[in-house]
């Protein structure tokens, strides 16, 4: 009997050990060079979703393209000029789920090459909000590329910025011109290379846009690219704090603010970039909290709750030195000088540029846009810049009383920018 049990035991052992059926190989995403497919969403479902949300008419006449998002890693440089491995999202119109007419339209666009829109995103604090991270986690269309790619037919580029995505171990150089511009300009070059390697046809048109922080970054990128002799077809920065010194003066002259996180992050990032002690700018106990608050693990609401909404004075957020130095425009105060040198308004673009913003913006005054345009025209000799108020455009009424705040304005502002870009493309490329 011992022999029989030995045989049975061996059989059991072999069977259990040979069981290897609990693993599946990693997802067989499309094999592509230099990137990873993270979103592949068909046109028909996206169209259905847009109709259900009331964003497009249900008459079926609007062409909605499929949405293919690629995560691309690339090299850029931080504020200190050190190499950083960064990431971004490239979204391309696809034929998936398109009807026959849509496919013919897409083929024609391909024959002419896709025009590229570089879109810089607005302020985020949590690392999981970066464009390529959202796309990788959810695998669905998100944000401005839905409009720019699936409705207007552009290839959309969204750099995550340094401090997010693949470079999340770095601090985010918030509203710091040099590295913000590099992160975008280098991503544009990386995306062009990626497109070439993967047979995504691009024409030579490049449009720059972005909202809020993204508006600032788009303008910084335009300045950098013009300085480097690179061609940009058209720029449409939106609702950005182009004059950082004026923006800081506006904030620091207030008694309290609803969102102390924004200015606190400026102080935090500038201190790191200029190798200064943040205690010069931010009062205890908040100065010691900033590493945690801006670690990328906290949301804007959590950060705003943790910080004082009082701007200055006892119990306030900022030091008297910061407030007085900025308000008095102290040329010996490093922070004021940094705000001036990181402003993106003090030059004159040669590229045709429309500054788009809502008159009702409650975070960044509309005067920031008109002031920037006036400066560029009157002081720096820019000939092709103008300010576009969103509310009159979307209502068709120059005298409209509609006023949209900073958050509500984003979608219509993108629509205005996309329409401007599409009209230029139509008159030049032919579609």
């Amino acid at each position: 009997m011992k022999r029989e049990f030995t045989l049975l035991s061996a059989l059991v052992l072999v069977v259990i050990m040979s069981g290897c059926g609990a693993t599946v190989s990693e997802p067989d995403n499309d094999k592509i060079k230099g990137g990873e497919l993270v979103v592949d969403f068909p046109a028909n479902l996206l169209k259905q979703s847009l109709i259900e949300k009331g964003l497009i008419e249900a008459d079926g006449n609007t062409t909605v393209f499929g949405y293919r998002g690629y995560l691309i890693e690339y090299d850029t440089t931080n504020e200190n000029g050190e190499k950083v491995r960064a990431s971004g999202l490239m979204v391309v119109p696809s034929a998936s789920g398109l009807d026959k007419i849509g496919k013919e339209k897409l083929e024609y666009m391909k024959s002419k090459g896709f025009s590229v829109v570089s879109d810089d995103h607005g302020t985020i604090f949590a690392k999981d909000k970066a464009p390529s991270i959202v796309a990788s986690m959810q695998n669905i269309p998100d944000g401005s590329p839905i409009m720019l790619t699936s409705l207007f037919g552009f290839v959309t580029l969204q750099p995550d910025y340094i401090g997010f995505g693949s470079s999340s171990d770095e601090y985010h150089p918030y509203l710091l011109k040099k590295s913000s511009a590099s992160a975008t300009a280098d991503f544009i070059e990386a995306a062009k290379k990626f497109a070439k390697e993967n047979h995504i046809p691009l024409n030579n048109q490049l449009y720059l846009t972005g909202y809020s922080e993204g508006g600032y970054v788009a303008l910084a990128t335009l300045q950098k690219m013009e300085a480097e002799g690179k061609s940009v077809t058209y720029a449409a920065p939106m609702a950005g704090p182009y004059m950082m010194d004026r923006m800081a003066q506006a904030v620091l002259s207030m008694d309290s603010v609803n969102h102390p996180s924004f200015m606190a992050d400026v102080a935090y990032a500038y201190s790191l970039a200029y190798n200064k002690d943040v205690s010069e700018l931010v009062q205890p106990p908040y100065n010691s909290m900033l590493d945690t608050l801006f670690s990328g693990d906290m949301s804007i609401d959590e950060i705003d709750t943790a910080l004082s909404k009082e701007v200055s004075g006892e119990g306030g957020l900022f030091t008297d030195k910061a407030v007085n130095g900025v308000l008095s425009e102290d040329g010996n105060f490093w922070f004021y000088n940094a705000l001036v040198s990181n402003s993106t308004a003090y030059w004159g673009p040669k590229t045709p540029t429309s500054f788009i913003q809502c008159k009702g913006d409650d975070v960044i005054p509309f005067a920031m846009t008109t002031g920037t345009v006036d400066l560029m025209k009157n002081i720096y000799g820019a000939e092709n810049v103008n300010a576009v108020a969103v509310e009159p455009v979307i209502t068709g009424n120059p005298d409209t009383t509609l006023r949209l705040g900073h958050s509500e304005c984003a979608v219509p502002a993108y629509y205005v920018a996309g329409s401007i870009f599409a009209n230029i493309r139509k008159s030049t490329i032919g579609y």
């Binding site: 059991v12 069977v15 040979s18 693993t23 990693e26 497919l37 969403f41």
Partner: protein, 412 residues
């Protein structure tokens, strides 16, 4: 190579009884439609009623081995499928045909006083269903469940007419789930594999009320198969990888049987089987991290099952045609535990009539062998619109199973 060996040895699971339970695990079991709980007389007593081991020849050991070859014809579906926003869409289709091989083995030791030891290797649960049609593929491109059970047991003879037994159930199981909605315009796909080693117990009673009248009862505990493994979930061609698990129960069951022998040649057995499928309330896939929001409703929301306890009535007839040849036949009526509202393409089960027959030939004092065949005829099943939570409306037809077993028994 391990995988090839494993597949060859264990075969793939099937569903030839109600739901995914497979009661036919020996030559006699196949020939008698698994009715021989009261009157099991060979090595397969270790599985069907280990208390009967106590009444086998004290001086002999018994070993049985064999293979069951299974053919699962296509299931026809004529009907429609409800898809959100699009309403009911045509969904006529037929499932893929399946072939499978299932091995079995049983051993009973010589008596050690009033004690006796046995062990069975069986595949007590299994399911394989594949659809290549656009709609069904979105729900069950492949559903596969395989199990292998090692079931050692010990019997104790209380008296010359009464014996009891108890055993331990060690179960290894593998599962695989694939679904792909892309052919019906829904770009959602799932690939998942998992396995588990788990256990339970079984109890048995045998009472020989008269030399020609026997009673038997057995109970098998519920065994939860928590298949742990990995999954890929896709939207379009973009996927994410997860650790994942899902639990399906091998339900507890109770068999009560009686056998009457006439003139030492003809034995008629009847069995009532209660399977406690009501323990299967929900199918809940779990992942190690949040899945894509858009897929939560499709792949993460628990799926109602709410199966009901089922009854099976079995009848077996054994006739000693000669000293060497034994003829057997069986019939069973097998209720499906699956309510209409939770029926799915992965297992479109229905009530069944089971017919079986076979023979055993005694080659010499030690060796016997035989062949059995079983035909499982499934009733057709209709579902009206709005009756089914998965949106199925139509009629399932055909299906069922044909099984052929061959096996040998060696007595030494």
């Amino acid at each position: 190579m391990n995988k090839i060996f494993y597949t060859a040895l264990i075969g793939i699971g099937i569903a030839n009884a109600a739901a995914y339970k497979i009661p036919e695990q020996s030559l006699d079991g196949m020939a008698l439609s698994a009715a021989h709980v009261a009157h099991s007389t060979g090595a397969d007593s270790a599985y069907y009623n280990p208390a009967n081991m106590a009444f086998l020849d004290d001086e002999s050991s018994y070993i049985e081995g064999g293979l069951s070859m299974v053919y699962l014809p296509s299931i026809d579906f004529d009907g429609e499928q409800y898809i959100s926003v699009r309403g009911y869409i045509p969904a006529d289709a037929e499932s893929e045909k399946e072939w499978a091989v299932i091995p079995f083995g049983h051993f009973v030791s010589k008596a050690m006083g009033d004690w006796r030891v046995g062990v069975s290797i069986t595949s007590p649960a299994g399911l394989t269903k594949r659809w290549e049609s656009a709609v069904q593929k979105g729900f069950a491109e492949k559903f596969y469940l395989m199990s292998m059970e090692i079931n050692p047991s010990v019997s104790y003879k209380i008296s010359d007419t009464l014996a009891v037994a108890a055993g331990l159930r060690a179960v290894y199981s593998e599962g695989e789930v694939r679904s792909d909605g892309s052919d019906m315009g829904l770009p959602f796909k799932r690939e998942m594999k998992g396995n588990v080693v788990t256990g339970g117990y079984n109890l048995a009673l045998s009472w020989k009320a008269m030399p020609d009248l026997e009673f038997g009862a057995t109970f098998r505990s519920k065994v939860d198969l928590k298949e742990k493994g990995e999954a890929n979930l896709y939207i379009g061609n973009a996927g994410r990888h997860y650790s994942a698990s899902v639990t399906v129960p091998m339900p507890a069951s109770l068999d009560i049987a009686v056998a009457k022998t006439f003139n030492n040649r003809l034995t008629i057995e009847a069995l009532y089987e209660r399977t406690y499928w009501s323990s299967y309330r929900r199918l809940d896939f779990e992942y190690n991290k949040d899945i894509q929001d858009m897929l939560v409703a499709i792949f993460d929301k628990p799926i109602d099952k709410y199966w009901k306890d089922s009854n099976t009535w079995r009848l077996g007839v054994t006739y000693l045609y000669s000293d060497r040849l034994t003829l057997m036949a069986g019939y069973a009526y097998d209720e499906s535990p699956i309510p209409t509202k939770t029926l799915g393409y992965e297992l479109p089960d229905s009530d069944a009539n089971i017919f079986s027959a076979g023979f055993r030939y005694k080659q010499d004092e030690h060796l016997s062998w035989g062949v059995a065949v079983l035909y499982d005829h499934k009733d057709s099943r209709s579902i009206k619109k709005m009756e089914n939570e998965a949106g199925i409306a139509g009629r399932f037809d055909k299906g069922g199973a044909i099984l052929v077993s061959s096996g040998f028994e060696y007595k030494f």
